[in-house]
Amino acid sequence: VTAIPSTACLLGLWNGEPDNGKSYIIESVFAMRIVTSAAFQEMTILTNVSLQPIPTAIANTLTPRCLSGNRIGYGGNARVAVGITLAAAAGGVASNWFPVGNTYQIASGATNLGGTREVNVQGRYIIPPKGQFSLSVIAPVATASSIVCGVRWHEAILPVYV
């Protein structure tokens, strides 16, 4: 996007655990250019933490991959989908999108394919059951099909403090 969005997310991670189930602890987020866009271009990852439980699951179009090797398949209850719409009441408003991390540098070059950003957020975002963590990327030019972005997380039972 070229402006802070509202309801449109590039990627969403929805926690489908039962109410007292595991929380998702966000470890890091990343974005990478896979097609060159306008040269010398910046980008920043935007994050959105849902404001209330979202009872309806999002689509289940991406299969989580394990950070520990030798493990095929995913046994959890997350749903991950791309190009989703986040309801305004759940946080799909401009004021609920926040940048994370620092801009990367392109000193020169006519192509920026392979430019990446990764931010280790160290558990700063917690997604309890039925919560959702969403990502977008802001850049000067909306070059089509130019960016992939993603998230790494841990699934763990956490104390429920009220």
């Binding site: 966000i26 040269a39 209330q52 940048p99 558990g123 919560g131």
Partner: protein, 218 residues
Amino acid sequence: MMAVRGSQQPNYAEGTDEQPQLNTRGEQIVAQGLPPLAQLVSCGNSYQAGTTTAATPVVAIPTTAALIGLWNGEQDNGKCYVIDSVWALVVASTAAQQTMSILGNISMAQIPTAIANTITPRPLRAGQPYRGNARIAVGITLNTTDGVAANWFPIGNNPPQIAGATNNIGSSMEWDCKGMFIIPPKNQFSLTVIAPAATASSVQVGFRWHELQLPPVV
């Protein structure tokens, strides 16, 4: 009594009682379980907020003018605000190849009068409504004790300039303060952004914080 562990790591069964362990150099073995901020944020008192409309950076260290302020409205022995991180984002293109820095201002004495309450804190734990006593406002004026150039300090490293850029939307900086700033009750943390050109409506700035009961300040 602690057990010495060599090259073989244990694989304990759940629910068994086991000894803490030392390595062969006599150092106690301790491993981080979850990411560092996970337990703190899971307590549900961690929030973020920022300007909701684009603001204009300053071109000189300011005095009383702040782009955003976080005022602690707790009672005198109440929670302190532990500043986690600050950030700034360019949302409208400024002069090309422009850098920027975040400036922070910490109040030096209690400010008894609350600032306006125009920005709602957003949770770092999903689904957590704001339940604290913070007040956040944009475009505020500091008192003349705190609002002096000598009480503004840069925070973090500026984002790298991109040589040749003609548009810098999406340029951002974030600084992990790790609790470097503490805002006790009735005190205030304020931010602004300094840049080479005061391009109107070009930046947004904000912070993340944890609300915690800390030992009283004497």
